[in-house]
């Protein structure tokens, strides 16, 4: 019996699929003006692939869903009580012109939301330049028609846009829901600038986290080390600011409140409160008495925010070099 296989057809060896010959590239080469966008896009695409990112995004949405549900039902009860002549102020106070801004603040500055944004920032920001430093990726980037500025802007925008979208989208959804439900109650008439305030307020955490993480990341080759340092700055800074505020200005509520905001999370919360232009009500502070919390003094907070943002960017810019320069 003949067990030999039949010979392969003659075409197998010359199949186009197996053609490994080098062919010159004849397509276009574009001189882009927004070269940073390629780096930013690539960073964002990498982020989207991480399951942990989507878990954090889900956590970001939670406070919005919960607060909207509470607000919707209590507001309904308040209206029914008012119609029955009983009189009630509702959770955020019926007729309070700040009530929608307060609702946005409650969601945006809730512990869950701020922590989720912080974790997302760690997830995508710590390795942005540190991992590149470890893998010598800068050599690859800068051997292409890319400048140091393009690289830095691309990395910065990749983190910033992701964080901003994560912070902004739920706010916009909340705004749309409020608009749909309360337009007849004069929602748009009472809050003509709320949408602009939301746009500006949601930028703050993205701006500060991005700049600080980029600055730290550029000086390291270890994303974990950067994450540890930033987490330390974030949490220990908040505790220290609180201790400092209470010990230095225990009798001066305004100064106490302002000094307590001198941390990364404090600056974020303070600036958001200022942009939304609200006083924190007893309900927001979860207090049973009539205590309210005014806005912290804005000038030192704004200066602190600018220093954090510019400081981070300058730190990164200083460290990114195209070539190792030997100094004689």
């Amino acid at each position: 019996m003949n067990y030999d296989l039949p010979p392969p057809p003659a075409s197998v060896g010359v199949s186009n699929v197996a053609d490994l010959q080098y062919r010159n590239y004849e397509g276009p080469l574009i001189s882009r003006t927004m070269r940073w966008w390629i780096i930013a896009k690539s960073g964002m695409q990498n982020t989207m692939k991480k399951p942990a990112f989507w878990v954090c995004v889900a956590f970001c949405l939670l406070p919005y869903l919960i607060h909207f549900a509470i607000y919707y039902f209590t507001q309904g009860l308040t209206q029914q009580a008012a119609a029955a002549g009983v009189g009630a102020a509702g959770v955020l106070g019926a007729g309070d012109p700040e009530r929608y801004g307060q609702l946005v603040y409650t969601c945006l500055c809730s512990d869950t939301n701020l922590l989720s944004i912080f974790i997302i920032a760690l997830l995508i920001g710590t390795g942005s330049i540190a991992a590149d430093n470890r893998a010598n990726a800068l050599m690859v980037y800068l051997s292409k028609p890319i400048t140091k500025g393009d690289y830095l802007l691309g990395k910065w925008m990749g983190i910033f846009l992701t964080l901003w979208i994560v912070a902004l989208l739920p706010c916009l959804l909340l705004f749309l829901l409020l608009m749909v439900v309360y337009t007849t109650d004069g929602f748009l008439r009472e809050n003509p600038t709320l949408i602009l305030r939301i746009l500006a307020a949601s930028v703050v955490p993205a701006l500060i986290h991005t700049s600080l993480l980029i600055g730290l990341s550029a000086w390291s080759k270890s994303p974990r080390l950067v994450g540890s340092i930033y987490a330390g700055i974030y949490f220990v800074g908040a505790i220290l600011a609180r201790i400092l505020g209470n010990s230095l200005y225990g009798n001066d509520p305004d100064m106490n409140n302002t000094v307590q905001h001198f941390s990364v999370s404090g600056v974020i919360e303070g600036m958001i409160q200022y942009i939304l232009h609200i006083t924190l009500s007893p309900a927001l502070l979860q207090k049973r008495d009539d205590t309210t919390l005014a806005m912290p003094i804005v000038a030192p907070l704004a200066i602190a925010a600018v220093v954090l943002i510019i400081g981070g960017i300058v730190a990164a810019r200083t460290k990114i070099n195209a070539v190792e320069v030997i100094r004689g």
């Binding site: 010159n24 574009i30 991992a131 590149d132 893998a135 051997s143």
Partner: protein
């Protein structure tokens, strides 16, 4: 025609002069850049890429001024750096496609071309694996692929066989040889490994202390001149050497039955050899103009 022309180039890092009044034309084809550590090879490459601004002089690469048109140059050339480098968190095809996009390719062209180039570099099966999991040889090949993806007319390869095992080295040298011969791509290879240069390059530039000390085709540099010949005898023969000495030859070296000798003139070399052999009763199996290894050329140039 020259792919790069360097005129009176001086590059300084602080008080240290890395390249000193260097003038050289880099011809088309595969060119080897040789020199000991600190000779200025990497500085020269960085200057040609537009990373380093010269203290004086200048360089023109593919018709563009390196000092003012660095971005345009980097769009048309490819660089395979010496150090291990990749963009972290990406598989092979994403990495190479991103390199193509960074060079100015539209994203759909870049992706298609990345697949093609990875196949050419024998990384077809590993293209969806994270680059961080690649072996040293694969990392070298993916670096080569990212330098090649946008179809550059000139590629700089800095120590392309660093850390490769013999098989990987063979494959990499084969790729370099293939790309630089008949494919319209010019290659500049900077390496310490002289056999690699000898195997891939047509022309060699030897640098020392920031200056060019020797330049020419590999064949020309290896040649010792028309008056030195290598003679293969059947057996070692002292009478043959004596007969040649009588005819004015100087014996340079003798290894077994192989003799290297220098003649006073190049008249009828063959006839004189055979007469001497006949007189000494020796058998000449062959003779040819003597050549030396590239290592000899290099050592002579840098010492």
């Amino acid at each position: 025609m020259a792919v790069a022309t360097i005129s009176n180039l001086t590059v300084r890092y602080g008080s240290k002069t890395a390249v000193d009044d260097l003038s050289v034309e880099i011809p088309e084809g595969c060119v080897g850049l040789l020199g000991p550590n600190g000779a200025g090879k990497t500085t020269l490459l960085k200057t040609l890429l537009g990373f380093v601004h010269p203290a004086s002089g200048g360089a023109v690469v593919l018709g563009m001024n390196a000092a003012t048109e660095g971005m345009k140059i980097r769009q048309r050339i490819g660089l395979m750096p010496e150090i291990d480098c990749h963009i972290p968190g990406m598989n092979g095809v994403t990495f190479v496609a991103l390199a193509g996009e960074l060079a100015g390719m539209p994203s759909n062209y870049a992706l298609g071309r990345a697949h093609e180039v990875l196949e050419y570099c024998q990384l077809g099966e590993a293209r969806y694996r994270n680059v961080e999991t690649y072996s040293t040889g694969m990392k070298q090949r993916v670096k080569f692929a990212q330098a090649l993806v946008h179809g550059p007319k000139l590629i700089f390869l800095d120590e392309p066989t660093n850390g490769l095992d013999p098989k990987g080295r063979d494959e990499m040298l084969e790729l370099i040889r293939d790309i630089s011969h008949g494919k319209g791509v010019n290659v500049i290879v900077s390496s310490h490994l002289l056999p690699d240069i000898e195997r891939t390059c047509d022309t060699v530039i030897v640098m020392r202390q920031g200056q060019v000390v020797r330049q020419g085709s590999v064949a020309d540099l290896r040649e010792l001149g028309g008056l030195t010949v290598d003679v293969d005898l059947r057996h070692p023969s002292e009478p043959f050497l004596e007969a040649m000495r009588k005819r004015g030859a100087t014996i340079v070296s003798q290894v077994g039955a192989n003799v290297r000798l220098t003649l006073l003139d190049d008249k009828e070399i063959g006839r004189r050899l055979f007469e001497a052999a006949q007189e000494a009763g020796a058998q000449v199996r062959g003779f040819r103009p003597a050549s030396r290894s590239l290592q000899d050329v290099f050592l002579e140039a840098v010492e």
